[in-house]
């Protein structure tokens, strides 16, 4: 193919492609699958928007490409023993893109913005724990929580916005991002692309080398792949599993894979018969061949889910698998009184991947006599059916084919297994309730001791896995494609787009 040439990267231009046709390749095009929603990092709910924001914004801490915390706008921090007081030493000589200085006052303004209920920001969910933020001196802030919250440290990665810009733009800050990051905002053409350019005044000048980055939403999988082939895009994410093969052997193109934080499972409504019997749930787990699942549904990319979360997340404790064993499954069903199986249904959204997964489950359970009706529903309808109920007993859902992505153990476990989070109040859609688990999660949240946390989260993982509120399926792999001449651009396990070291060879 003509787009296969590597090196200079001119084919895109000669193809009349999306780039503005700079003679010297200094522009990186990243094609992603969805539209960005907002550029206000403090009011963002989707991974993609945060992925784009990470080029422009930095938090006091930042995630590196492997999801490890590293110093961002703060150089060091300390926590008191109860995990209620955080003190940050701020980086000096940092300026926002609009030229205003970054300092403790700026941090306070940002934190106050987020912790104020009336602002109705997404980040409030995490910042509501903050009782007060104090400016200790120009480059030191002290944050006091109103209750111990161990996961808080992860939340300090939220991007800090220029107070001047907040003042200036008000509500319109969503389309006028001003941060401190290695790239600064150029333009956002709704639905078409968002462009950022290198920030010459960045505190870590020189790490990122590409002059301009263009983010383009390209929803069609095949088109994204085609763009990579023609050179119209330098990086594409996600790369659909089924398409990897077409890129293998394609000159000038590299396929990258990373384990992700995304877990794939089927949530089982434990309040409903026959799923209230643990033997039934275990039987179902035994009846599903996870290897086959990965092969058929994920085209071979992915790993078995051996706990309740991805191994990339802190405090992961491997639990093993429910081995694929039809006899055992039948045995368990028989013990539970369902020798002849039963009929139920599985819900999922209308993505073709989901449909595929649900059909797979259907086929598998058929072998142990369970007849599953596949019901795909349009996302918002589905969400309404699942979360829009008045009380847990009202839930009509039996099984739900779904995935969850989180960057920290609190989010991975408390949201999904804590009994206070039964819908409609939260995302514990399996209606899983185990006092020990509830207790352990609570304690872990309130401790700043890493070892203690590890131990407590271990307990949670072990119990949940044993109780089988889910069919444990897989951990996704992140697949993305890039042109061979692109360096230093990564997709993080949680789907973030890491461009802090972007460069062309």
């Amino acid at each position: 193919s003509s787009g296969g040439g590597s090196g200079s990267g001119t084919p895109a231009a000669s193809n009349g492609g999306a780039t503005t046709g700079a003679p010297q390749k200094d522009q990186l095009v990243i094609a992603v699958n969805e539209n960005f929603i907002t550029m206000d990092p403090q009011n963002t709910g989707d991974a993609l928007s945060s992925g784009v924001q990470s080029a422009m914004f930095e938090g006091l801490l930042i995630y590196d490409k492997d999801l490890k915390l590293m110093p961002g706008l703060s150089t060091e921090y300390s926590v008191n023993k109860d995990a209620t007081e955080y003190t940050f030493k701020l980086r000096q000589n940092v300026k926002f893109h609009d030229g205003t200085p970054f300092n403790a006052e700026a941090v306070k303004i940002n934190f106050d913005r987020m912790s104020n209920k009336d602002n109705n920001l997404r980040a409030y969910r995490n910042y509501k724990y903050i009782k007060s933020t104090e400016v200790v001196d120009e480059h030191t802030v002290k944050v006091t929580l109103n209750q111990p919250f161990s996961a808080m440290i992860n939340k300090f990665t939220t991007g800090i916005i220029s107070p001047a810009a907040l003042e200036k733009y008000g509500k319109d800050i969503t389309k006028n991002p001003v941060g401190t990051g290695p790239y600064k905002f150029v333009e956002w053409v709704q639905g078409d692309h968002l462009t950022v350019e290198l920030n010459p005044d960045h505190w870590n000048k020189g790490a990122a080398k590409v002059g301009k980055i263009v983010y383009k939403p390209v929803p069609e999988n095949g088109s994204r792949v085609a763009m990579l082939k023609t050179g119209e895009a330098d990086v594409i994410y996600p790369l659909p599993e089924q398409q990897v093969e077409t890129l293998n052997g394609e000159e000038g193109v590299k396929v990258e894979r990373t384990p992700s934080t995304i877990t794939r499972y089927v949530s089982i409504n434990m309040l409903k018969k026959p799923f209230d019997d643990p033997r039934v749930r275990q039987a179902i787990n035994h009846a599903v061949d996870k290897d086959a699942f990965i092969k058929v549904v994920k085209s071979g990319y992915g790993a078995q889910l051996e706990s309740v979360m991805s191994p990339t997340i802190a405090h992961y404790a491997k639990q093993g698998t429910y081995e694929y064993n039809i006899e055992k499954a039948k045995q368990l069903l028989k013990e539970a009184g369902y020798e002849n199986g039963f009929t139920t249904d599985i819900w999922g959204n209308t993505n073709s991947d989901t449909m595929k997964g649900m059909q797979f489950i259907q086929q598998q359970l058929q072998k142990v006599g369970i007849t599953v009706e596949v019901k795909s529903m349009e996302e918002a309808t589905l969400s309404d059916e699942i979360y829009g109920i008045k009380s847990p007993e009202e839930a009509k859902m039996n099984m739900w084919y779904v995935s969850w992505s989180s960057a920290d153990p609190d989010n991975a476990m408390r949201s999904l297994f804590s009994s206070e989070n039964f819908p409609p109040a939260g995302a514990n859609t399996a209606f899983y309730k185990n006092d020990l688990v509830d207790q352990s999660i609570k304690e872990a949240t309130q401790s700043s001791d890493q070892d203690k946390q590890k131990q407590l989260y271990g307990v949670v993982q072990e119990n949940v896995f044993k109780d089988a509120p889910w069919i444990f399926l897989a951990v996704d792999e992140i697949l993305y494609g890039k042109r061979a001449n692109v360096n230093g651009v990564y997709i993080t396990p949680s789907g973030g787009i890491y461009v802090r070291e972007a460069a062309f060879q």
Binding site: Q242, E245, T246, A292, K295, S352, Q359
Partner: protein, 296 residues
């Protein structure tokens, strides 16, 4: 009587009343392409009825060892992502795809025709009402309508027929209205009025046949559209279950494999193509037959 005698002597021997069916058949046989296309459709209907007995494999039975195989001796049309035999799925899916699309277009055509006739014949506020309603229907996104229909009617094959029919009604209504406007000026329509015929009789007995020919063209074109529309509805949870071998759904599900295993998409595509082609050919033939003026 004198009058009769004067003119009557080249009267030809009366023949027996020919049955309409026989007459139709005689003409039909002369339409060669249409005849064979009709034969093909008949064949499809047979397959639709006896599919499960004809299919070489169980169309629902997965075999994870042979996923996405290209056509071979064992699997003439290859296998899909679960290793299911595509040919068997096509065969068994004939009933669903053909049944849903045919009956939905039929319902759409019937309702649309009635609306179009009324709109064109009566004119005035009735016409304006129906036409503006159809404007809104056209502008209304199918997806939203589909979601609403799912919400109101729930899943089920009959409902998918209703849904797809709802999409077709405005088009048919407009088409027929246009033809009605022209046909109602015909002298024989005036003649019928002068005899004292009721509006309903004029509309259905005299004007409707005039609109049939363009309706047939449109009808046969809509078949394909409807197969595809029905499948997009099944994605929304309306209609055929996702595992059922509906052609449109096979096409949509195969989208991801277009680059790597194109046969997964191409084969249902061909099935739809041939079906639409056959309906079009039959449509052309029917048009010629129904026009009493065409002789050959």
């Amino acid at each position: 009587m004198e009058v009769v005698k004067e003119i009557g002597h080249n009267v030809v021997v009366p023949t027996e009343k020919k049955s309409r069916a026989r007459e139709f058949w005689k003409k039909w046989k002369k339409q060669k392409t249409a005849f064979w296309a009709g034969f093909f459709i008949l064949f499809l209907f047979v397959i639709a009825l006896f599919g499960p007995w004809i299919a070489p494999y169980d169309p629902y039975e997965p075999n994870y060892d042979v996923t996405l195989q290209t056509p071979s001796i064992e699997h003439w049309a290859g296998t899909d992502e679960y290793g299911r035999d595509i040919l068997s799925r096509i065969i068994v899916g004939t009933g669903i795809s053909l049944g849903v699309s045919f009956s939905s277009v039929l319902v759409g055509a019937v309702v649309g025709t009635i609306l179009g006739l009324i709109s064109g014949y009566y004119g005035g506020w009735m016409d304006r009402l129906i036409m503006r309603w159809s404007d809104v229907m056209f502008a209304f996104p199918d997806l939203l309508l589909a979601i609403a229909i799912v919400a109101i009617l729930g899943p089920g094959l009959t409902n998918v027929v209703v849904a797809v029919a709802v999409f077709s009604i405005p088009s048919f209504a407009r088409l027929i209205r246009g033809n009605t406007l022209a046909a109602k000026e015909a002298v024989f329509v005036e003649a019928a009025r002068s005899m004292g015929a009721k509006s309903s009789r004029i509309m259905f007995r005299h004007i409707f046949p005039e609109t049939v020919s363009s309706m047939i063209v449109f009808f046969s074109m809509r078949i394909g559209t409807s197969i595809l529309a029905a499948s997009s509805l099944s994605f929304l949870g309306l209609g055929a279950a996702p595992e059922s071998p509906d052609w449109g759904a096979m096409l949509s599900m195969g989208r991801d494999y277009l680059a790597t295993s194109p046969h997964v998409v191409i084969i249902p595509g061909i099935a739809i193509f041939l079906t639409v082609l056959a309906f079009n050919l039959v449509g052309d033939g029917l048009r010629d037959i129904l026009d009493p003026k065409t002789k050959n």
